[in-house]
Structures are given as C-alpha cells and as structure tokens.
C-alpha cells in the first residue's frame, strides 16, 4: 500500500507539474487588445499636473490672501485718517470740563484754607500726606501723543497756566500746585518740588498723588477706538484732594485709565457659530480611471465625466469656538473650537455596464442619479486679527486664517438605481483644509459680541485614498455667531 501511495504521490506530482505547465504555456505569450480609449486616458494623465502645480490653486489662494490684505489695509487707512484726533481736537473738546473742574477745586480749597495756605511752598512730605491742604491737580497726559514737550504748566507769581500746544488755561490763584505725569519714566520724582520754582513735575505714581478731584468723563471713543495707539496716551485726571473719604468714593468709579488698561493683555472668549453654504466637490483624474475602483461596478466614463460636471451641494455646520486674544489691544487671537458639519451633493450620470463574462461585449448605457452625504467633526485652528472700530465702538472687523481638521464621521449615498454602487475609493477619515474667515463684530456690550461674515475652506489633499484620482472639496458660505468674553486680564 505504501508503494502504491508513493507511486500515487509521484504521479500526482507529475500531473500537477503538467497542469501548471499547460497554464504557463497558454498564458505565457497571451495577448489581448486593450480598449482603444486607454491610450487617450494615459495620454491625458501624463499631461495632468499635481494639485499644487495647478494654477487654479495658486490663483485662488493668492486672491483670498490679497482680498484679506486689502480689506485690512482699507480699514486701517480709514480708521487712521478719520479717527485720530489732533492735540487741538482733544484739548478743545474737553478743555471746558478740565477748566471747570479745576476752578471748582480751587474755589473749594480757597473756601477751606484761605487763611492758612496762602503763599505756602509745597514740600514732598506735605504733598504726600492725606491731609495736605494744597490743591493738587494732576494733569496726566502720559506721553501725550509724543508731544509732551509741548505741554507745559507755567506757575509763577501766583498764577498757574496749563498749556497744551496752543491752548492755555489760566488760573489766577495762589496756592495751586499742578502735577503732570508725562510718562512712566520717573515714578519717584517728587511731586511739585516747589510751587514756585518747578512748573512741571513728572510722575505716574498716582498713588503718591492725592485722590482724584473729579472723574472727568471724556468720551474717548469718539476720538479713539480701541486699538488706536494714542488711546493709552490720552488719559487725564486731576487730583486736588487727598482725603480718605474722597479716595474711597472714587475707588469704584470708572475712569479713562481703566479703559486704557483694558486695551492690552489677554482675553478669553467662548462662542457658538453656525455656517450655511455651498459645497463643491471636484474630481480630478491624473489618470482617468475605469469604473471599478472609482465608481464601483460601473464604468469608465463616469470618471471621465465627473471632472467636467459642475457639481455643487449644500453644507452646514454648527460649533463652539474658543479664542485667546492677545497682543497689544488684544488685536490678535488664537482660535480653535469644535464643530459638527454635514454636506450633500447629487449628480446625474450615465453609467456603463459590460458583461464581464463574455469579453468584447459592448457597453450598455443607463442613466442614474446619485446623492452623496457626508458628516464630519471639525477642529479649526487659526490665527485671527481684529481691525478697525467705528467711532461708536460698536463695530469692528476681523479676519482669520488657518486650518480646519475634519474627521469624517459618516459617508453614505442614495441612488435612483438600486443596483448602482458608488465607491469613490476609500475615503480618508482625517482631512486637512485651509480655512479662512472674515466678518464684522457687533459689540453689544464690553463682553458680548455678535458677529457675521463669510468663510471659505478648501481641502489640501485628496479626500479619497485612490491612486490617480483627486477628490477635493471647496466650501464657502455665510456664518453667524456670538461670543462672550469670560476673562480679561487686568480686570
């Protein structure tokens, strides 16, 4: 039996070898004529350029960037020309307020101290005590528009002159010492070294000064929107008294200095947004694929047709956003968040089938309509810039540029033809998009903003993992949202 088995094995082996050899002989030099259109497709594919070499990509990107730059430039230009006040504007506008307040302080002081303080020379210690009788007015201009040297206070022969450029405020009273804090350079300089010999005393150490005489309400915004570099330099406050009671009374009052502080540092905002727009897929075939891998089951010509088809659909997205504002006047921001989006598009196609059992059979054409649906989770990462603000401080513009990472959560399609299977390669689950956004903020309150604008995003690489086929998408639309500032430094 063993011998029989060996004989059988050897025989089997021989038969298998013969079998293989027959196949080999049959197919070794076999030839089949490829379809005539195949060369044309190869020819077209060899001419195709990768996406990053396509002029359209550069034109689109360049156009968007240029548009943003122009908008930002225009805002800045308009704002600089129309809202930056001259020194004269500033002084003229609020001169009366300052004058009236100083007059009032002088009168009050004269009533209280008329007998004891005439012709009294101020000393450092006296000035810094709360009960000092001298009347101190602090005309703080903090490096006033880089023209501080134009500001002067002349005090001589019992007269005090406040001069700012060509504006003069004359006070014919004897015991008035006026301090000017020009900038932050000299905190420790004595206040009013002498009422008779030094007319300008520089200090910013307002704690050393007596309390604020008056909260002069100057509407800075009508000259200086947030972000204007002059904003911080236009703070004025006058100090004429130093009683604890007055200090306490004024602690909670708002003054321009606080507003100035708000314009720098960091802020954190949270918001929600909604986008509604148009989704435009585009198919590019470096090589025009036949259907099986591009459009499963059906034919080559759908892939040929798709690039020429003007397919567009709808997309919408709702999400939360977080922004960390930073930089001078918090103009810059780092933006991120999370959003849920969905898109759909449909197209009609002529599909071709061929009986694969019998070679050489002609293609059979049939029409079909396919609707494709996507859903994704999006994480945007962008740098934003806020620019321009209206005189009323209610409106400002913004622009953002960055990427949006999309995580595909669902992909489905419906087809009029139940036998149609649409498999556009393997969809990548993670896609990166270049994303830009621009719009207008409406500041309802200091911390609450409504905004609206436009957005555009374009995929950076093919959304499908299919050699030779690029399926990219572009989306543009309108956005609305609201943001709340939950933290601001310095407050």
């Amino acid at each position: 039996m063993k011998g029989m088995n060996n004989f059988g094995n050897n025989n089997r082996k021989q038969l298998d070898k013969q079998f293989e050899q027959q196949f080999k002989n049959k197919f070794q030099n076999a030839q089949f004529a490829p379809p005539a259109h195949l060369w044309e497709q190869i020819d077209a594919a060899l001419d195709a350029k990768p996406w990053y070499k396509r002029p359209l990509f550069y034109w689109t990107s360049g156009l968007v960037a240029a548009l943003l730059l122009v908008v930002m430039f225009c805002f800045t230009l308009v704002y600089d020309n129309s809202t930056t006040p001259s020194n004269n504007d500033f002084v003229n506008a609020d001169k009366n307020k300052i004058e009236n307040r100083i007059d009032k302080g002088i009168k009050d002081r004269n009533i209280d101290n008329s007998s004891t303080n005439n012709n009294t020379e101020l000393s450092n210690s006296e000035k810094n005590t709360a009960q000092k009788n001298n009347l101190t007015a602090d005309y703080n201009t903090k490096n006033f528009n880089s023209n501080s040297s134009n500001s002067s206070i002349d005090k001589s022969d019992n007269s005090t002159n406040i001069t700012n450029t060509n504006q003069k405020i004359d006070k014919n009273d004897s015991d008035v010492a006026i301090s000017i804090a020009l900038n932050n350079k000299d905190k420790n300089k004595d206040l009013g070294t002498s009422a008779t010999d030094e007319t300008i005393v520089e200090t910013t150490n307002t704690l050393e000064l007596t309390n604020i005489l008056a909260d002069i309400k100057i509407d800075w915004s009508k000259y200086l929107p947030i972000g204007n570099p002059h904003f911080e330099q236009k703070d004025i406050f006058i100090k004429v008294d130093s009683t604890n009671e007055a200090i306490a009374n004024n602690k909670n009052s708002q003054n321009p200095i606080e507003d100035a502080k708000k314009s720098s540092g960091i802020a954190l905002t949270l918001g929600i947004n909604h986008t509604q727009g148009i989704y435009k897929p585009s198919f590019r075939t470096d090589s025009l694929h036949s259907g099986l891998t591009v459009i499963e089951a059906y034919s080559s010509n759908l892939a040929d047709t798709l690039p020429q088809m003007n397919i567009s659909g709808n997309y919408q997205q709702t999400g939360f956003d977080v922004a960390l504002q930073f930089g001078k006047n918090k103009r810059w921001s780092f933006n991120t968040g999370i959003g849920m989006g969905k898109a759909n598009y449909s197209f009609g196609s002529t599909n071709y089938t061929r009986d694969t059992v019998l070679l050489g059979n002609p293609l059979i054409a049939s029409t079909n309509n396919v609707e494709v649906n996507y859903e994704w989770l999006q994480i945007p990462i962008a740098i934003g810039y806020q620019f321009g603000e209206s005189r009323a401080k209610k409106f400002s513009g913004f622009a953002q540029l960055g990427t949006a990472i999309e995580l595909l959560s669902s992909y489905s399609y419906t087809s009029a033809d139940p036998n149609f299977t649409y498999a556009l390669g393997n969809h990548r689950t993670t896609n990166t998009q270049v994303w830009t956004q621009a719009g207008i903020n409406y500041h309802v309150t200091n911390r609450w903003t409504l905004w609206g604008g436009g957005t555009y995003k374009s995929s950076l690489s093919s959304l499908i993992n299919e050699n030779g086929v690029t399926f990219s998408s572009q989306a543009y639309g309108w956005q609305v949202g609201t943001r709340f500032t939950i933290f601001k430094s310095g407050e």
Binding site: M4, N5, F7, G8, N9, N11, R12, K13, L15, D16, Q18, F19, E20, Q22, F23, K24, K26, F27, Q28, N29, A30, Q31, F32, A33, P34, P35, L38, W39, Q41, I42, D43, A45, L46, D286, S287, L288, H289, S290, G291, L292, T293, S299, S300, R354, T356, V357, L359, N426, N467, G468
Partner: protein
C-alpha cells in the same frame, strides 16, 4: 464509448492524495531547485538593442510618440497579465492604465540590465497586486474551508480557449487567484510570493494547493458540462 471519446483528453488515474502531501513535495522540489541553482549559477548580461535603447531614451525625455510606441508594443501582453489578476475587464483596464502611467513616470529608473519587457511585466504585476490588495488581504485572514480534490485525472487544457481559462481563473476566490498566477504562471517561488503579498510561506503554499485543486475541479466540471452539451 462516445463519452470516453469526449473525455479523451482527461485520463483517469487511481488513487488520491492529500493537499499536505502535495505541499511537502513542492517544498522538497523548491529546495532541490535552489540547490541546483546554487551550483549552476549563470548570469546573463542583457544588452539592449539600439532601437530599444533609443526608445527608452525618448521615453525618458517624455516624447509622446515614443511613449505611444512603447505602449503599443507591450500593452497587449500586459493587458493579458492584468486580465489574469483582475476580477473584471474594467479592473484590468485600471491596472494597465496605472501601470503605464507609472512606467512613463519612472522609466528613468530602469537600469536596462534586463529586457524592458521584464521590467514592465514586474510593474504590471505589482500594480495588479496593489489594486487587489484590500480584497486578498481580507481573504488571507479568513478561514478557508479545505477542498477535497481526490481526482487523479490528467487535465488537458487544449480544449479550452484562452478566454474560457481566463474566466475560470477569475472565478477563483480572492487570494487563490493571485497566488496561482504568481506561482504557476509567473514562476515565482513561495518565498517570493510570501514577501510580495505579506503572508507566510506556509500560507502561500496552502493557498496555491487549494487554488490548483479548485481549478482542477472547475475544469472537470466545465468538461462535464461540455460533454453533456455534446450529448444533447
């Protein structure tokens, strides 16, 4: 007797043999072949003809006419290869198209140390494997039910034309088709197939044995069907 005349090209044999025995014999044969190769290694230096050289140079320069000439020269043969690996004609179109695009894009890397046909053939086979990878990767992971092929019949393929054989090969399950093509027709060793497909040598052997057994069964069935048709 008439039925025997129809079956004349299929001669019956006694006895049966398990797939394991077949695999063992093939393994021994491969080892013997390797030993033989080690002792009688001869290296053939390929010197391309001047026409072929010029054609390649022109293709490197992306001259479209040269590319077309190269395509027309080799496309029919390569299409036949693509047809063997593909499940459908449309898939074969894809394979051929992608292959030639790759050929033209990378032709400067062809070292000209072998006939260009070999190089092109290798690209087509690689492309075919790449195209079907997702399908056969899945197939290799699945449990395959054993095929009991007990017949000891010498199957003569002359009665089948090329297209019929092609359709029969295409009816092989994913994985079987690739391994059979690579081993029986391209002449790859199981070790090479294992590397190409990312599977073990053992898997390659068992897949091949099963593929062959299934093919033999299908051919016999076809033959019987043909016989019945003849009777009618």
């Amino acid at each position: 007797m008439s039925e025997y005349s129809i079956m004349s090209n299929i001669s019956a044999h006694n006895g049966s043999q398990s797939i394991e025995n077949v695999e063992k014999q093939e393994e021994e044969q491969e080892v013997n072949n390797l030993d033989t190769n080690e002792t009688t290694t001869t290296r053939t230096v390929h010197i391309p003809s001047s026409e072929e050289s010029q054609l390649i140079k022109d293709c490197i320069k992306s001259k479209r006419q040269a590319q077309r000439t190269l395509y027309e020269q080799f496309a029919p043969k390569m299409y036949a290869i693509a047809m063997r690996y593909a499940k459908t004609t449309l898939e074969a179109d894809d394979i051929l198209q992608e292959s030639f695009i790759n050929i033209f894009k990378h032709i400067e890397s062809f070292a000209q140390d072998c006939p260009i046909e070999f190089w092109i053939r290798r690209i087509v086979i690689n492309q075919a494997l790449k195209t079907g990878r997702s399908k056969y990767d899945k197939a290799f992971k699945e449990e395959v039910t054993d095929i009991n092929y007990n017949s000891e019949e010498n199957i003569i393929l002359d009665q089948f034309d090329l297209e019929e054989l092609l359709q029969i090969i295409r009816r092989l399950p994913d994985g079987f088709q690739q391994v059979f093509n690579l081993y029986a027709i391209e002449g790859y060793k199981h070790k090479e197939i294992a590397e190409l497909l990312g599977i073990s040598v053992g898997t390659s052997k068992s897949q091949y044995a099963r593929a062959r057994a299934q093919l033999q069964e299908m051919l016999l069935e076809e033959d019987e069907r043909y016989e019945q048709l003849r009777k009618q």
